[in-house]
């Protein structure tokens, strides 16, 4: 128990240490504050954006998209992954398609999605769903395939129907792998979730907002007139979009 608490403190040491080092190097003039904003300035901007309600709003929108995209991507992925793990024929049928589509960078499909679904919520949620779908699918399938065959034999020896094998053996048995897929997927969902929040998080953009030469609380030049432009309507974000 004591070791566990100690581990928790240790987990804070590396990020805090990095921030302190970063701040120290900035103050010592070793890092150019025009390119690498010091943590203190980011913190001030964070407080300011939170006070205006801009940041909470965008975080809310992002979280909604991530949750929607996550459910839309992971539920069919788990179902299909279990089926592919359980049935050799389903695997033979679908694996070539999965293997062909999985390695395509999702960003390459993005224009197509925008073309068909527009630039609204649907396309953004879809890209989140798509970016986690294959990760969860492949992990779920691998999870089922990696299970001890004895578990399936137990079910069959007691006369379990396919649906029982699905729900009582394959699903709980593959859960650890499913969660690995979901964790990996969560990272990709963040990348896939392109919106004002991610623009805020991208450094060149944020640097605009963190005026290191002015007193805290003073809104930077980049902030002026920035009144929630739409995705396509902000040329300043074009670089960040392509990232």
């Amino acid at each position: 128990m004591k070791a566990r608490i100690a581990d928790r403190w240790l987990a804070l040491v590396s990020p805090l240490g990095l921030l302190l080092l970063w701040e120290g190097l900035s103050r010592a003039g070793l890092l150019d504050v025009r390119f690498i904003t010091p943590p203190s300035a980011i913190g001030r901007t964070l407080v300011a954006l939170t006070r205006t309600g801009e940041l909470p709003y965008h975080v809310g929108v992002s979280v909604e998209r991530i949750i929607a995209g996550f459910l839309l991507g992971s539920i069919p992925a788990v179902a299909l992954g279990l089926a592919m793990g359980l049935s050799r024929s389903v695997r033979a049928l679908l694996m070539p398609i999965v293997a062909a589509i999985y390695p395509i960078p999702k960003i390459a499909i993005y224009p197509l999605i925008i073309f068909y679904l527009g630039i609204g919520e649907a396309s953004k949620v879809s890209i989140v769903a798509l970016s986690i779908f294959f990760l969860v699918l492949l992990n779920t399938m691998a999870g089922v395939l990696g299970m001890d065959r004895t578990y399936f034999n137990i079910a069959r020896a007691y006369g379990a129907r396919s649906i029982d094998v699905f729900t009582t053996i394959a699903w709980p048995g593959a859960l650890p792998s499913i969660f690995t897929g979901l964790k990996l997927g969560m990272g990709f969902a963040m990348i896939g979730c392109r919106n004002r929040f991610s623009h805020l998080a991208i450094v060149p953009d944020l640097r605009d907002r963190c005026d290191v030469r002015r007193p805290a609380g003073h809104r930077g030049a980049g902030m002026a007139g920035d009144d929630h432009p739409g995705l396509a309507g902000a040329p300043r974000h074009a670089v960040a979009d392509g990232a």
Binding site: D148, T150, Y151, N153, I154, A155, R156, A157, Y158, G159, A160, R161, D164, T168, I169, P172, G173, L175
Partner: protein
């Protein structure tokens, strides 16, 4: 060799296997695992099956449990009834489901059989009590010792009230002392309702201690070479039967039957 037709008393709760063969499809044509296996287990009889490693004992049990189809031959076994299995198989090694509590593990067979929740919990508790694990019913398998996990597996099979209990080297992973304890418990439980048992083992001692009759299987492809009756009374006291001269003679005879087969299995 005894033919099935010669046997009497193969009523509802017996096993009748005639001319059973199984060949697996290999890269270089079919490779036979079982060849013309014929034997009978009478209702209420405890029969042990011994044979060299890889002779097809597990294959035979899996055919009897309906997990794999034989290539040829016939198997006559009791059918399942509502709430009751014809045969239940206790698997080799780790076969508790790690994501279920002990109680859910024991109730698992009943669950997939469609027994209502209340009844299956009741029956599972009863059989957990029988193997002395009632206090651990909410524990998970990883919290138990190997011996306790094997008790869970036995309770799971017994909870389905099978006419026939098939056991595939259930005590192979246990240390000697725990094996003795579990053999003792198994006999005590068996003494209560005298189910028909087919018990696969590679231990001569275990076969003699537990069974009424020992079937000896050949090296692969397996068939039954001999059967040896065990003329020891019941209920059995392991301390006493060890000192019985019949025990030593039986052990010597079985080893005599088995030795050639083990050598043959090692050569191939």
């Amino acid at each position: 060799m005894l033919r099935a037709a010669d046997q009497v008393g193969t009523g509802l709760a017996g096993i009748d296997v005639a001319g059973l063969s199984k060949a697996y499809q290999g890269r270089h044509g079919p490779s036979p695992a079982l060849q013309d296996v014929t034997f009978t287990v009478r209702a209420g009889e405890f029969v042990a099956l011994i044979g060299p490693s890889g002779c097809g004992k597990t294959t035979l049990l899996h055919i009897l449990a309906g997990l794999i189809e034989p290539t040829a031959g016939s198997v006559s076994m009791p059918r399942r009834h509502p709430g009751r299995l014809g045969t239940a198989l206790v698997f080799q090694g780790a076969s508790t489901l790690p994501w279920m509590t002990v109680l859910d593990n024991v109730a698992y067979g009943l669950r997939v059989m469609g027994v209502p929740a209340r009844e299956r919990r009741e029956r599972a508790r009863q059989h957990l009590g029988q193997v002395g694990l009632l206090a651990s019913s909410e524990a998970y398998p990883h919290q138990l010792s190997e011996g306790m996990r094997q008790r869970v597996n036995i309770a799971r099979a017994l909870a389905t009230d099978p006419a026939i209990l098939l056991m595939d080297e259930p005590f192979a992973d246990l240390d000697e002392q725990n094996r003795l304890l579990l053999q003792d418990e198994l006999l005590r439980i068996w003494q209560e309702d005298r189910k028909t048992v087919l018990f696969v083992t590679h231990s001569l001692d275990e076969a003699i201690r537990l069974s009424d009759r020992v079937l000896v299987m050949s090296a692969s492809p397996g068939h039954i070479t001999t059967e040896v009756p065990v003329p020891l009374g019941r209920p059995r006291d392991f301390q006493k039967i060890r000192q019985d001269p019949a025990y030593g003679a039986l052990s010597a005879r079985l080893w005599g039957e088995l030795r050639e087969e083990v050598l043959r299995a090692n050569r191939s």
